[in-house]
């Protein structure tokens, strides 16, 4: 069904799509582009963390035999993150190609098929990885082996420390040659933990916002489409959700639930969907009486199709913008929870937990444990907020006219 076009002749007659217009408007502001680049760098750090900071060498000659401990120590989760990144990049390339080769009217169908295929590859691949990659624990002290002369020819990662290392003799050291950003209360390298911490932040950000967007869209679309009694009852529920301040609501739930990364993602997702629901509801109110929706209804299309195929693509823009701010918010909430000690359990590195070590229990102030994790949170949140702001300006037609 893919219509391949003769490129040069037809490309111009396609005109500029809505997405293209938003993209151009977004790219006009250099700050937006810079923050997008910052987000991409953070992603790269999260994906390649084991290759940037690892206490196992890429390659080492042990008792005359050449071995590759770093690759052998990678877990299934590391591999699936790499796989996800590869598929993500491939999808971006596909989208770029679609823009050149495929007629706008069927681009949506092609895109959804590609997304489906890639998502299934990702799921299948991850399952295979979890089944076939053995769980290994390598606690060999490779640097001690080198200093004792048993091993040689080692190539280490740029930061040759693991994130769960405890070396009490080097605890609470300020930044120096050995540890570029200092060490924490148990002697772990701060830079290393920062890099691994970006994984927690990004995954919490994206999964929590994914959940909150899906719940918000599902509830908001039903309320907006049906209106009347359904809307009245639903909105009372939304109001109740909004009545308890989100952070209080979250720590209330945290008090009862076990504190794991997974639970925190779900809790943040399930408590922050109200904004999305209200946006979608408002959009659907506007769309409900439009001709194309009336046409879809009179054709007897199923509700699922009317809501999600016809109406949603026309009303999803505010939710996309809100999602970008939502990622920033979720990262913020995760950091705050970890700061208070309600986050993931150590030694799993999290920025908020690292930050809380900045003022030690003895009252000593360790500036490197305050500044670096804090700035990491700040820059990440700032980048997402800037992108969200840029997206909103690009999408808002009122501002486009004014400019």
């Amino acid at each position: 069904m893919i219509i391949m076009a003769e490129k040069t002749a037809q490309q111009k007659s396609w005109g500029v799509s809505y997405g293209e217009m938003v993209r151009r408007e977004f790219a006009k502001n250099k700050l937006n582009v810079v923050s997008l680049v910052l987000i991409i760098i953070l992603f790269a750090l999260a994906v390649f963390a084991p290759f940037l900071a690892n206490d196992k060498p890429f390659m080492i000659r042990l008792d005359g035999k050449l071995i590759f401990p770093l690759f052998a120590s990678l877990k299934a989760s590391d591999y699936s993150i790499l796989l996800a990144a590869a598929i993500g990049i491939w999808q971006l390339i596909l989208i770029r190609r679609n823009r050149r080769n495929i007629e706008p009217s069927i681009r949506g169908h092609v895109l959804s098929r590609q997304l489906l295929i890639n998502a299934s590859i990702l799921v299948a691949g991850s399952v295979l990885l979890y089944v076939f990659v053995p769980r290994r624990l390598d606690a060999t002290g490779y640097r001690e082996l080198i200093s004792s002369g048993r091993a040689s020819d080692a190539i280490f990662a740029p930061i040759p420390y693991g994130y769960a290392r405890t070396e009490l003799e080097v605890r609470e050291q300020p930044p120096g040659k050995e540890h570029w950003l200092g060490t924490d209360d148990v002697g772990s390298d701060v830079l290393c933990r920062l890099i691994y911490g970006s994984r927690i932040s990004l995954s919490v950000g994206f999964v929590a916002v994914g959940i909150s967007s899906l719940v918000g869209i599902a509830i908001g679309s039903v309320l907006g489409y049906f209106g009347g009694k359904v809307d009245f009852i639903g909105m009372r529920f939304v109001e109740i959700m909004m009545a308890i301040p989100v952070f209080f609501l979250i720590i209330t739930i945290v008090a009862y639930w076990e504190r794991s990364l997974f639970n925190i993602m779900i809790i943040i997702g399930l408590t922050t969907w109200t904004g999305n629901a209200r946006f979608i509801r408002a959009e659907f109110f506007k769309l409900r009486n439009q001709d194309f929706v009336q046409a879809a209804v009179s054709l007897g299309l199923p509700l699922r199709s009317i809501l999600f195929r016809h109406m949603l693509p026309n009303g999803v823009a505010p939710v996309l913008v809100n999602a970008t701010f939502g990622i920033a918010g979720a990262i913020f909430i995760e950091a705050a929870l970890s700061f208070l000690g309600f986050g993931v359990a150590p030694p799993t590195p999290s920025w908020g937990q690292m930050l809380s070590l900045g003022v030690s229990t003895t009252g000593r102030f360790l500036w490197w444990l305050t500044l670096f994790p804090g700035v990491a949170i700040f820059l990440t949140v700032l980048a997402y907020n800037l992108v969200g702001e840029g997206l909103r300006d690009a999408i808002d037609p009122r501002l486009r006219k004014a400019a």
């Binding site: 009545a243 301040p245 209080f248 639930w257 705050a336 003022v359 804090g374 700032l382 907020n385």
Partner: protein, 321 residues
């Protein structure tokens, strides 16, 4: 109002009941102090004691009765009635937030207006950058840096690092006591203020920009009114309305933020109470604090609605309730 209040109680109740396991398993569970058989006995006994063996609707009604009579039971940690604790802690948080609230509104309305009036000139761009940075700055970072550099040996010690008053401040006469209290409040209030300030300034600027572009402003200018009159009487009056509704989003954010700030500065307010209750799994306190926070939020919204009606003559409560 009342249905929402009921809803809050249902929600808090639901959270406490949907959670996997029960408080006793967490307190005494596998690896805890009791072996399996005696633990089962103990659990039954405790369930009966706390009324957890009754059907859920009955349990809810019992809980509702406790909410209505403000009898939230005893705190496990403090061995005192929860409501007493809240009575002690609530005024502290309210004072902190009210001071911050007043500062936010008095500073950000002029800043936002000026930024809008000077649209795309130096002040606008400068303040926009500052505001955006402040908006994304985590309070944990700011709080700890302030404590680190202004309260200790690292740089200068101008302010006390923790608490609400110095030792034996109660014995002081009123004015020294007040200065002591304010001296302790400076840093927490800074932390509580800046992000709200950033958010509100952005909104004021956006609202002002929109009304400055509106037709009635052009009309006012065409009538030959002075610039000041146009800005204050025509544009400002109309852009203030969304600013009032923002109270509804600002208040819960500030209440939530006070958990972190009270923790950093060791201020014994509601936020600190919530923090302690969650760490020690003091369930009576957790449920009470969540309910009270919801209640306070509702009261804030009510004030917002009233202010809205005062500011906007088109809104009235009589016509359509």
């Amino acid at each position: 109002m009342i249905p929402t209040l009921l809803g809050i109680t249902i929600m808090v109740f639901a959270i406490s009941r949907i959670a996997p396991g029960d408080p006793f398993s967490i307190a005494m569970g596998p690896g805890g102090q009791l072996d399996a058989e005696r633990f089962a006995d103990f659990r039954e006994q405790q369930k009966k004691l706390h009324g957890l063996d009754k059907p859920l609707p009955i349990q809810y009604l019992i809980w509702l009765k406790r909410v209505v009579t403000f009898n939230f039971g005893d705190s496990i940690k403090h061995h005192r009635p929860v409501i007493e604790l809240i009575k002690e802690r609530l005024p502290i948080t309210l004072t902190l937030n009210l001071i911050a609230f007043v500062i936010i509104y008095t500073v950000s309305i002029p800043t936002g207006m000026l930024a809008a009036v000077r649209h795309k000139r130096f002040f606008d761009q400068f303040s926009s950058v500052i505001v955006f940075m402040l908006w994304s700055l985590p309070a944990m970072l700011v709080g700890q840096l302030l404590i680190g550099y202004f309260c200790g040996p690292a740089f200068v010690s101008w302010f006390p690092p923790a608490g609400l008053s110095s030792n034996q401040a109660d014995t002081l006469p009123f004015f020294p006591w007040l200065t002591d209290r304010l001296w302790h409040l400076v840093l927490p209030v800074i932390c509580l203020t800046y992000s709200g300030f950033a958010y509100l300034t952005k909104q004021v600027r956006a609202g002002m920009l929109e009304s400055l572009r509106a037709d009635y402003v052009r009309t006012a200018r065409a009538k030959g009114l002075s610039n000041m009159t146009v800005i204050f009487r025509h544009a400002f009056r109309n852009s203030i309305i969304p600013v009032i509704t923002i109270m509804a989003t600002l208040l819960p954010a500030m209440l939530g933020g006070s958990v972190i700030i009270e923790r950093i500065f060791s201020i014994p307010g509601m936020g600190m109470l919530a923090f302690e209750a969650v760490t020690t799994r003091d369930y009576n306190v957790v449920m009470a604090v969540a309910t009270i926070a919801g209640l306070m939020n509702l009261v804030g919204l009510l004030f917002g609605d009233i202010a809205y009606a005062v500011a906007d003559p088109r809104v009235s409560f009589e016509s359509n309730v």
